[in-house]
Amino acid sequence: MAPTDDDLPPADPAESLRLIERERAETELSITPDPRGFLWPWGFAWVLGFGVYFLRYGPGDRVFVDLPDWLPLILLLALFLAAGIFTGWFGARISRSISGPSTRQGAMYGITWSVAYTGMAVVLSTTNGLLSDAHANMLWAGAMVAVTGVMHMAGGAIWNDRGLFALGIWTSVVNVVGIFAGFGWHALILAVLGGGGMLLAGTLQWLRLRRLASRGLR
């Protein structure tokens, strides 16, 4: 194509429509944050955090790896905190180039996450010393996952995102199934199905975004 003065109209209507499609796809791809940036940190935190939980507090009081009894919960909280900080930073990057109702929405959603976790932690810490180790661990892990599932579902409702909503339902169901399966199994189920589910969801959403973009950019 010969270089054209960009003040001239496109050659014909079909060319105009192609130009519109290409520009929209390009912008969409450029302003949509990589879904992996939101889901992978949590996926890794869950696989690692609940994996260690399972190794220390296995089914039927089995100890696969003899770690200090305080380590799994501290590690899990640290991993959740790290994932929360990373995703908060990742989300805030968007507001450096876009501003308006959608960044406000994103900020409110981010604040809701931290308020929900803080409230939960304050309530649960009142049970310190009252429960057996295994029971206390399952209570903390179960509550954290319940809050996470609900937040994903709320995110799905806010952004009309079926994928995120489905992930929330999946997380909530897996949590309840794990609780019924009992101590030890809960952690294994959360590591594999919960954490694995997030890694998979992030990958699928990323592939979908790339497919949509390449269709428009062709």
């Binding site: 054209t4 960009d6 496109p10 876009i98 501003s99 308006g100």
Partner: protein, 106 residues
């Protein structure tokens, strides 16, 4: 339908550069704005060129350019106005009508 009844193409948008600007801005959600450097990066236009076209779009009431501050650094925000969005929708509808003329029978 005779040729004369075909919709006219909006001359403000019907220029490659401005069509690209408006198409790009139309991707944002209503009332959201984008920073000037980011828009420039997406469109791969020079700052001067983009400014010229934005001014023409602003004169037509299709975009709104706001100067503001992000913390202490000044920022220029660009967004499509409601009027601009309508003009863009009319423009794409007109293109489609040109490509597939409506049937005689309604």
């Amino acid at each position: 339908m005779s040729q004369a009844e075909l919709p006219d193409l909006d001359p403000v948008i019907h220029a490659q550069a401005r069509l690209r600007v408006v198409s790009s801005l139309s991707t944002l959600r209503e009332a959201d704005s984008i920073t000037f450097p980011r828009l420039q990066e997406i469109l791969k236009m020079t700052a001067g060129n983009l400014s010229v076209h934005l001014r023409k779009l602003e004169d037509a009431g299709y975009v709104e350019v706001t100067k503001t501050h992000h913390g202490r650094t000044p920022a220029t925000l660009v967004r499509l106005t409601r009027r601009g969005r309508l003009a863009f929708e009319d423009y794409t509808a007109a293109l489609r009508a040109l490509l597939n003329p409506p049937q005689e029978e309604s």
